[in-house]
Symmetry: C2
Subunit: 434 residues, 2 copies
């Protein structure tokens, strides 16, 4: 990896997400040699991926170069590569560009889409955890409309204009709202030769309410908002399969759709090499203690989405969101400094600042620890918090400018197919065959 | 293509570049049925592609959805497809989504990179005529630096930091300047473990001056600007081959470089189906008369880069730039209306508004028909003209904001590898082999 030996202890951080970046920032020039590894050369502001997918923002506005984060730091190295495995016995990370020794290892690899083992759904549906995935969704949505314009087969045309979002969490809700707004403000005008009323947006939730990690008030308010926008919500319905054309469920609901976006589950982006008992089965998160130490190790830590810190308040670990990740990253920096100075480490206590989701224009729901509100004010709070959280002044300014423009003009000019998405298997039936 | 028959005459326009869009805009609601065909769903502002390639602007800022251009027009259709051939005998355009009949056909397909038949150069070098190509260059530049960080082989590291631009026209000059500024302001800070002084930028020009379509004053000024920025300029040198590693020329200049960007020639993006005598050999442009009518046809027109209108003043046709394209598009709209009203057509006269190129921060050259100037003021003129020419308020605002930010901060935050570029053949020699 071409990293010089140093007299300082080496901290290797895998992952430049919210957790990894928070940690890296606080470890600047702190008498450690730090190596930050990521498979992308940029940090991604995941909460706004859905806006990239729906043409509201350009990809570059929610990405930030990792090398810029660590500019000017001494003995701080970034390496662009994919980690294959870790070898705790030899304190080594095995990557595609070689092996690297660590004194402290921090796993901050985040999460990835969980298909719960269904390979056919994985093959045929879209997921949205990275910028390229969001851009693929954007291309696919627009390609479907371009195809819908061409076909004379009504069933096929309807399927091309059917959008099914599986999972009623924030991502599903926000995407549903954004698509509904595109239907009204954009597709209506862009495709005058299509009957846009036929465009349908379905949100399928396996539980009995959407946004079920938030308060019941938020669930009810967001459901009402979405219904007003024309989104069809299906609760207590579990998707059993999607063959690229037809979605089947555990009820008698069957839908034909060219686009299925799967946001129904996440799992830790786990790395090979840890003993089985360190990993929580099914969700693939890494068990950590209150200091974010991986069970069984003193010098391996996990922070953010990948870390499952079970506690009385959070028996299944903390929610997989930016806030716990940032707070764990910050605390771990302090704790590594404590270790260096032979002080004792501080236990992590999650400071829940609340959660929020936006549904559309003037519509959001906000749960603070002690109160709930929704509507226009919630929407402004949502925008302010997200703008404020973006890294970098330029990104903040460009996102703000886009939002103001989109708001005034009811528009999203990013409806661009820059790189076509090659859908693997949208099966076209001709009228004769049906 | 699913386009209804209409009592109006049908104009089919192939290509949504400067010429096609200018024509389409003026044909709105003018008693024609208009069909606009493009293989992208967006118009590309090509003069700023080099800024996308060097991380100064996001791709979406220089692209504009074509469907938005024709929003609200009656009997106006956009179709996203690639044209395979035209069949003048049956007045048909053959495309990947079917055939379409035309009453008037307008070919506005623009130009593409000309490798003068050298397949090895074509395979191994980068070109920059579309947004995906610019994004590939951006990825490659950054990947090369990430690789340079890893290698201990000095020759390989130098080759990874060598950038060769072939062609001393505006594209080559602007890219050279942008790379030189990145070297100074960004790579220096982003890669502290590299000796950035070893980064070299070579500009190879076959003629005896760069910017040879501009005045001699502009050539001299731009040469001086580039030299100050550390760019090595090679004149009267012709590249003979590039195998992915080594560039050979018709002189004793031999360079090792991982990145070669080929801007040394363009040719018309010609379509099959026209008789041989309509096409200018070697440059593949279509011969047109003073009304932009393709030689031999009354109802087929060609406008913009693809059209070669030979005249006393322009014996090889007009320069392949935005201005002649826009002017021809505008005039053709008038002429089609004249034809409709049985009036005679007006001959095209190019109104040369001048040309310009930017080299870097505060440095540009401007040739107006009657005067030349360069330096800071020229740079402001360049910026104003380009901002003003971008389609859409949002794009203008976002580009302006980026430029202000980049100017104040000496930065280009778009240094993102969103989709890695898989280079086909950078041959790695180990030290032993050399």
């Amino acid at each position: 990896m071409n990293i010089p030996q140093s007299s300082k202890k080496r901290v290797v951080i895998i992952g430049g997400g919210f957790a990894g970046i928070a940690l890296a920032k606080k470890l600047r020039n702190k008498n450690f040699q730090v190596v930050l590894i990521d498979k992308h050369n940029h940090h991604t502001f995941q909460p706004l991926l859905y806006q990239v997918a729906t043409g509201g923002l350009e990809a570059g506005s929610i990405a930030y170069p990792i090398r810029k984060v660590i500019q000017g730091c001494t003995d701080f190295y970034f390496r662009l590569t994919t980690v294959k495995e870790i070898d705790p016995n030899h304190q080594k990370v095995l990557s595609e560009i070689g092996d690297i020794h660590y004194d402290y290892l921090v796993i901050a690899t985040g999460s990835k889409t969980n298909y719960f083992g269904n390979k056919e759904i994985e093959r045929n549906s879209m997921s949205m955890k990275t910028i390229p995935q969001s851009l693929n969704i954007r291309s696919l949505i627009l390609e479907n409309f371009e195809e819908a314009v061409l076909t004379k087969d009504e069933l096929e045309r309807n399927a091309l204009m059917n959008f099914v979002l599986v999972g009623g969490g924030p991502t599903g809700v926000e995407l549903a709202g954004a698509l509904a707004e595109m239907k009204k403000a954009i597709f209506q005008k862009d495709y005058p030769d299509l009957d846009i009323q036929k465009m349908q947006i379905h949100l399928i939730q396996s539980g009995d309410r959407i946004l079920n990690t938030m308060t019941e008030k938020s669930s009810i308010a967001s459901e009402n908002f979405l219904k007003e926008l024309g989104v069809k919500i299906w609760k207590n319905v579990r998707v059993t399969n999607y063959d690229g054309r037809t979605i089947t469920t555990n009820t008698n609901l069957v839908l034909d759709a060219a686009t299925v976006i799967w946001t129904a589950g996440v799992q830790g982006a786990c790395i090979h090499g840890l003993p089985e008992e360190s990993v929580v089965e099914r969700v693939e998160r890494i068990r950590v203690n209150e200091f974010n130490q991986v069970k069984g190790f003193e010098n391996i830590f996990a922070i953010g989405d990948i870390a499952s810190m079970e506690s009385e308040l959070y028996p299944q670990g903390h929610p997989m969101m930016a806030q716990p990740a940032i707070q764990q990253g910050n605390l771990l920096a302090d704790n590594l400094l404590n270790l260096q100075q032979n002080k004792s480490m501080k236990a992590f206590v999650y400071d829940d600042k609340g959660s929020m989701a936006t549904i559309g224009r003037n519509l959001a729901v906000v749960d603070l620890p002690k109160c709930h509100f929704n509507g226009v004010f919630a929407w402004f709070v949502w925008m302010f918090v997200h703008l404020f959280s973006l890294i970098g002044f330029k990104n903040k300014a460009v996102v703000f400018l886009n939002w103001v423009y989109n708001y005034i003009r009811f528009d999203r000019e990013g409806r661009l197919i820059i790189r076509p998405y090659k859908k693997k298997s949208f099966i076209t039936f001709t009228s004769d065959e049906i």
